[in-house]
């Protein structure tokens, strides 16, 4: 067994017992990256020097008997959407190529303060727009369970790196499912916290009212431990909730006996891959065996969620991305004559097709004369979707569904068909529209060996219960132990 096969908490135990040093663990990650990343291509940038320096500092703290946190010394990867002081951050876009931020995102600061060496920046769909990592301006990442397939998006690099055991865990962001869908595609656990639970300060914005950073790891317990470090009120984010974070690890093994779990009928319709459906059905039965009661619930406005999302998210994005104008940082069209041409050429060359598509959609949706018909109406539907969940949670403790209607698809398969790509988010994005926490936990494999994920949705700030529900299943079916078939 290699060092990189350990879970975060297993490694943390060894670091605490000082049988392994953080420097050894970090070097193991760097070595694993050298071996497998040419195939997986999860990393945009590896910060070897920075990670090793942090590891050595961690070892010094361990030696002095004063670790900074439970995970002090555990190497981690970051989606390239998190600003890291002194390390290039591009959000997967050409327009930010060469941009070295002068400050850390709040979550990055928290991780550094907790002593975690940050190994590098992980690939992503450009500005988090995409469901397959193929809209990264640099290269697509590959799914470690089948290199011809996508690891999902937009946190695909994070998911692939965790699944390929290049890092022990990672942070991603989830705007419409970008943590949960890649987690489901790569046999990892991904948690999108309640909107406002984790600070967005220093996280490059896609759609401000939907974006939420969250942990990605190989086990539920690791996910809980990682969430613990970043779930904190932040005065620099006006949408950050002033709600005290509980101990997410305390009640993990509490089981599901007596819990009422909702099965939304709108999530089990045609179009779902039969193997995914079978796997989910089996998972639901397992929950019954474990003592939970399944309750049929209805979320009637689900069918409008996709359209609502693809009005609201691009509208916000069109505004959020206006700052990339070539004036102050990032790429600039140096041959432009005049101001208008400077803007046009910089953005024409700097943005990829998916980003341009969404900027156009959003600009249109906000335009005078269309605002009421599109943006405003979408906001109203968003309220209805939120109310659907509020009603459902009066009956049940959590809602279960597939994370994705299909397992990981082939690279290139949907890249020319944006609409079918958008459909990949159909189960995940209602949760973002409602601002709720959602989690994806591995629940099986297809015959071809592709992972399947179960999605657990909960009430606002009920992350602890979601983790407990996921853990109950994970304890019975340790799919996380099944490694990706990568020759190291």
């Amino acid at each position: 067994m290699q060092l990189t096969d350990l879970t975060m908490l297993e490694l943390a135990a060894k670091l605490a017992g000082r049988t392994v040093s953080s420097e050894e663990a970090t070097r193991a990650c760097l070595e694993r990256i050298r071996q497998v990343d040419p195939k997986v291509r999860a990393f945009l940038r590896v910060d070897e020097e920075g990670a090793l320096a942090a590891a050595r500092a961690s070892d010094a703290r361990r030696k002095a008997g004063s670790p900074a946190s439970a995970l002090d010394g555990v190497p981690l990867g970051l989606k390239d959407i998190f600003l890291t002081e002194g390390v290039e951050t591009t959000a997967g876009s050409r327009i930010l190529e060469g941009f070295v931020p002068p400050y850390d995102a709040t979550v990055v600061r928290l991780l550094k303060e907790a002593g975690l060496p940050l190994v590098g920046k992980l690939n992503m769909d450009e500005f988090a727009m995409g469901s397959s990592n193929e809209s990264s301006a640099y290269f697509p990442s590959h799914n470690p369970y089948d290199l011809s397939r996508t690891p999902g998006g937009s946190s695909g690099g994070s998911a692939a790196a965790v699944a390929a055991r290049e890092v022990f865990g990672a942070l991603g962001t989830d705007t419409g499912g970008s943590i949960r869908q890649p987690a489901a595609f790569t046999n990892t656990v991904g948690l999108k916290p309640t909107y406002g639970r984790v600070s967005r300060y220093g996280v490059i914005a896609y759609a401000s009212s939907l974006d939420q950073p969250g942990p990605m790891a190989r086990t539920v317990a690791d996910t809980a431990a990682l969430l613990q470090l970043i779930a904190r009120h932040d005065a620099q984010d006006a949408t950050s909730a002033a709600v005290e974070a509980p101990d997410y690890s305390a009640d993990l093994e509490g089981g599901v006996r007596g819990l009422k779990l909702g099965v939304p009928r709108e999530y089990f319709t045609e179009g779902m891959d039969p193997e995914v459906e079978a796997s989910i059905r089996e998972t639901l039965r397992e929950y019954e065996r474990l003592g939970a009661t399944l309750v049929d619930v209805s979320l009637p406005h689900t069918k409008y969620a996709l359209a609502t999302y693809y009005l609201l998210a691009p509208a916000e994005a069109s505004s959020n991305l206006a700052r990339y104008d070539g004036i102050r940082y990032g790429q600039r069209a140096k041959d432009a004559r005049g101001l208008k041409e400077l803007y046009a050429l910089t953005r024409e060359r700097g943005f990829g097709p998916e980003v341009k598509r969404r900027i156009m959609l959003g600009t249109y949706a906000l335009s005078a004369g269309y605002y009421d018909a599109y943006y405003l109406r979408a906001q109203k539907v968003r309220t209805l979707i939120r109310e659907d969940f509020t009603k459902a949670f009066q009956q049940v403790d959590a809602v279960l569904s597939p994370t994705s209607p299909v397992p990981a698809f082939k690279l290139g398969e949907k890249v020319d068909d944006p609409l079918s790509m958008y459909l990949m988010d159909v189960f995940t994005l209602p949760c973002n529209l409602a601002g709720l926490p959602g989690l994806s936990v591995p629940c099986g494999f297809t015959k071809a060996g592709l992972p399947v994920g179960l999605q657990v949705l909960g009430r606002p700030f009920d992350e602890a219960r979601l983790l407990r529900i996921a853990r109950a299943f994970e304890r019975e079916h340790d799919f996380f132990l099944r490694p990706a078939p990568l020759q190291g």
């Binding site: 931020p101 401000s208 984010d237 006006a238 916000e316 505004s319 700052r323």
Partner: protein, 479 residues
């Protein structure tokens, strides 16, 4: 039809920079005149990933202003983004308030030749300022200074209730007085911390339909406002007279040519794509906060002026000058507490004190003597301890040194001689030396009386009590 057949309709949008220490969404300083881009941080530079955090002081100021202008302060208001591209706008959007501003439906009273007039205030909203582009600075380049980006502004929009350029100027002056009184704005037009746009249209007299309006941008002096509005009214009348149509557009006042120029027409105007700012939750202002602001509201210029005429019995002219600035009014009242004759006090204020302040360029806050000391000096003049003229010298000395008036009078020997015996001796002496003039006087040429007064005063180095000097002279000459 001549201009007089048309009725101008004018509305003003006032932009007032709030006197906060820090910017509206970050902690950067708002100090004027810093080195370019010194007062900036990732937030006001619009770096990726940054988020705005509202400066609560800005809300306090907006509420205070709203209450002073008799607006309804909304308990819930909403931030919006106004989207457009410009190099001085770092985020590509301005955070402002749009359809749900913090204050609505207020009023401001102004004076017109026809008497008082109420100008309705449509709305007040908060927003961030943009930066500044500096063109052709170095080798034909354009440079951007973002020190001002994120400085808090209030925008106060009037209804189109103003009917000529003079009313517009009155309104702007009255608004400035209110904001300065409230301590929310420094009223400094030169530095651009108080400026306005004017919406101007004309319609035939008697019409009930407004004409097409033009917006005049960035008028940064009362004079330019008057000139620009007057020019624009006659321009629009000319257009209509010659059979043309006024088109809705934004125009700039060309200071050198004395004309307004088209900046952009409505057809190529921006679609700002306003939508609620997702990075800032809706703003809630509690009843308690509104009550507290209402209780802390100072007396406003107009009310103070009225009180100065009624309470102190001052003429309107005096009251207007004394209440034009809050510190002067406060100082006057502090003196009035020690000295009963308000008109006499006002004369000293409007005469000597204002002259000294102006000549020395001293702000009122730097005065070195107390209101009680000023009152003491005036009392001394009244009692004849010192002459009115010498009193002016004493005030000058108090102004420069801060010494007590009694000390100055003693040190400089300015005390008036009221000793009848001493004056009588001088009078006798002067009469003896000028027997010829005495004859003339007694022969009926009473005009020479002033000559004797002058001689006595000169002999006494100006310190003779003028009343006694007059009395004694009359007695002796008559005798």
């Amino acid at each position: 039809m001549p201009v007089s057949d048309f009725q101008p309709v004018i509305g003003l949008e006032v932009h007032a920079q709030l006197i906060t220490q820090s910017k509206i969404f970050c902690g950067c300083s708002t100090a004027f005149g810093a080195e370019p881009n010194r007062n900036t941080c990732p937030v006001c530079l619009g770096m990726p990933g940054v988020l705005p955090v509202l400066n609560q002081r800005v809300v306090e100021f907006a509420v205070r202003t709203g209450l002073a202008l008799e607006c309804t302060v909304k308990k819930t208001s909403v931030w919006s983004r106004k989207n457009y591209f410009y190099p001085d706008l770092p985020k590509g959007y301005q955070i402002t308030q749009y359809d749900l501003p913090i204050c609505e439906h207020g009023r401001l009273v102004i004076d017109t030749p026809q008497g008082e007039k109420v100008i309705r205030v449509l709305r007040i909203h908060m927003e961030e300022d943009a930066g500044k582009n500096v063109h052709d600075a170095g080798g034909g380049q354009s440079l951007v200074d973002l020190n001002r980006a994120g400085v808090p502004l209030l925008e106060i929009v009037s209804e189109p209730d103003l009917r000529d350029a003079d009313e517009a100027v009155e309104y702007l002056k009255a608004m400035r007085d209110v904001l300065v009184y409230l301590g929310v704005n420094d009223g400094n037009l030169e530095e651009g911390s108080f400026r306005c746009d004017a919406n101007v249209s004309v319609m035939p007299k008697g019409s009930s339909t407004y004409g097409q309006r033009c917006e005049l941008k960035n008028l940064n002096s009362f004079r330019f406002l008057k000139q620009a509005v007057e020019y624009e009214i006659s321009r629009q009348v000319d257009v209509i007279e010659s059979g043309g149509k006024v088109i809705q557009e934004t125009r700039l006042w060309d200071v050198n040519q004395g004309v307004t120029r088209s900046m952009r027409s409505k057809e190529e105007a921006h679609d700002y794509r306003y939508f609620p700012e997702p990075d800032l939750p809706p703003l809630h202002v509690s009843d308690a906060a509104i009550d507290a602001a209402a209780k802390a509201l100072p007396e406003l210029p107009r009310a103070k002026l009225q009180r100065f005429t009624s309470q102190y019995g001052l003429p309107a002219y005096d009251a207007r000058i004394l209440t034009a600035e809050r510190p002067l009014a406060d100082y006057f009242e502090a003196c009035a507490a020690h000295y009963a004759d308000a008109k006499k006090l006002s004369n000293w204020f409007l005469g000597e004190l204002m002259r000294l302040l102006k000549e020395e360029g001293t702000p009122l806050s730097a005065l070195r003597f107390t209101p009680a000391q000023l009152a003491e000096l005036l009392g001394a003049v009244d009692k004849g301890t010192v002459s009115a003229n010498a009193g002016k010298d004493v005030l000058g000395e108090m102004f420069r040194t801060g010494k007590a008036p009694s000390d100055i009078i003693a040190e400089k020997g300015l005390a008036q001689v009221s000793d009848t015996g001493a004056i009588e001796a001088v009078v006798d002496d002067i009469l003896a030396k000028n027997a010829g003039e005495v004859e003339k006087y007694r022969a009926g040429k009473t005009q020479v009386f002033g000559f004797f007064v002058g001689q006595v005063m000169r002999a006494m180095k100006g310190k003779g009590n003028p009343t006694l000097v007059n009395e004694l002279l009359k007695k002796k000459l008559g005798g």
